[in-house]
C-alpha cells in the first residue's frame, strides 16, 4: 500500500466531482450519477483510513459493506422516482418540474 494521503486525496477529488455534478447538472440521471460518485468517495475514504501498512481494521469493512447495500437501495429508489417523474412530466430536466398537481 502506498502512502495514505494519495487515497485521501483521491477520495476528496471524487467527492468534489460529485458535488460539482450535483450543483451544475440539470438532468435527473446525471444527478443520480453524482450521488453515486459521492457514495463511492465516502467508501474509498473509509477503507483507506481503515488500512495501514501493517494491517487493517475489519470493522471498517463491515460498515462499508452495509453502506454499499444502503447506497444501492437509495440509487434504486431514485431511479424508480426518475421513471415516475418522466411519465408525469415528460422530461428529465429538473428546471421544468414546477407543477405540483397530479
Amino acid at each position: 500500500m502506498i502512502e495514505l494521503y494519495w487515497y485521501l486525496g483521491a477520495s476528496a477529488i471524487l467527492y468534489l466531482i460529485g458535488l460539482y455534478c450535483l450543483a451544475t447538472k440539470r438532468n435527473l440521471i446525471k444527478l443520480i450519477i453524482g450521488i453515486e460518485i459521492l457514495i463511492n468517495a465516502a467508501h474509498l475514504n473509509f477503507i483507506a483510513l481503515g488500512t495501514t501498512a501493517t494491517g487493517f481494521d475489519p470493522l471498517t469493512h463491515t460498515y462499508v459493506i452495509i453502506s454499499i447495500g444502503v447506497g444501492a437501495g437509495v440509487i434504486a429508489l431514485a431511479l424508480s422516482l426518475t421513471l415516475l417523474v418522466y411519465r408525469h412530466y415528460g422530461t428529465l430536466d429538473v428546471r421544468k418540474m414546477r407543477r405540483l398537481k397530479w
Binding site: A12, Y20, N27, G34, T51, T52, T54, I68
Partner: protein, 180 residues
C-alpha cells in the same frame, strides 16, 4: 519506484478520469458506461487495500446491478442526449458551481491535513495488527482461487454476463428500429 506504486497510482488516475467522464459526457449511455468502469476500478482499489469482501460486493452491486438498472431506466425514458443550452442562466450556474467547488476544495484540504496528522498519531500508538501477504502473493492466490478452485463458477458467471450483454444489445436494437 516499485511495481506497487505504479499500479496503485495508475488505478487512482483511472478512477478520477472515469469519474470526470461519467459527469461530463453528453451521451447518457456513455456516461453510465464510464460510471460502471469507475466502479470496477474502485473494486480493484479495494482489493489492493486488503478489503476483498468489500471489493467483491462493490463489483456485484455497483458495477453490476446498479448499472443494469441505469440502462433499464435509460431505455424506458430515452432522453437521448443532454440538450445544449447556452443561456445566461446556464453560464451563471456554471460559474456559481465553480465557485462552490473551489470553496469546498479549500475546506476539504484543511480538514484532510488536520485529520491526517491526528490519524498518524492515533494509529502509531494503538494498532498492532499481524503482517499481510505481499502484493505478488495476493495476485498469485487470487489467480489460483479463480482458475483452479472456482473455475466452474467463473465460467457460469461469464456465460450469464454474456447473455445479459446480448439482452441489453437486443433491447437497444429494437428501439433503434422503432425510431426508424
Amino acid at each position: 519506484m516499485s511495481l506497487e506504486f505504479i499500479v496503485e497510482i495508475t488505478l487512482i488516475a483511472l478512477l478520477i478520469i472515469f469519474a470526470i467522464m461519467a459527469v461530463e459526457l453528453k451521451k447518457l449511455v456513455y456516461a453510465v458506461a464510464s460510471l460502471g468502469l469507475m466502479s470496477t476500478v474502485l473494486s480493484i482499489i479495494f482489493y489492493v487495500l486488503y478489503a476483498p469482501y468489500v471489493a467483491v460486493i462493490n463489483l456485484l452491486v455497483y458495477a453490476g446491478a446498479i448499472i443494469v438498472l441505469f440502462l433499464a431506466v435509460l431505455s424506458l425514458t430515452t432522453p437521448g442526449e443532454e440538450e445544449k443550452i447556452e443561456t445566461k442562466q446556464e453560464i451563471a450556474t456554471r460559474i456559481s458551481g465553480g465557485v462552490l467547488f473551489i470553496i469546498i476544495a479549500i475546506i476539504l484540504v484543511q480538514v484532510l491535513i488536520t485529520s491526517y496528522v491526528g490519524l498518524q498519531f492515533a494509529y502509531g500508538r494503538t494498532l498492532n495488527l499481524p503482517e499481510l501477504m505481499s502484493f505478488q502473493d495476493i495476485l498469485k492466490s487470487v489467480a489460483q482461487s479463480i482458475w483452479q478452485v472456482r473455475v466452474m463458477d467463473v465460467l457460469i458467471q461469464a456465460m450469464a454476463l454474456f447473455v445479459a450483454g446480448l439482452g441489453v444489445a437486443a433491447l437497444f436494437r429494437k428501439e433503434r428500429r422503432e425510431e426508424k
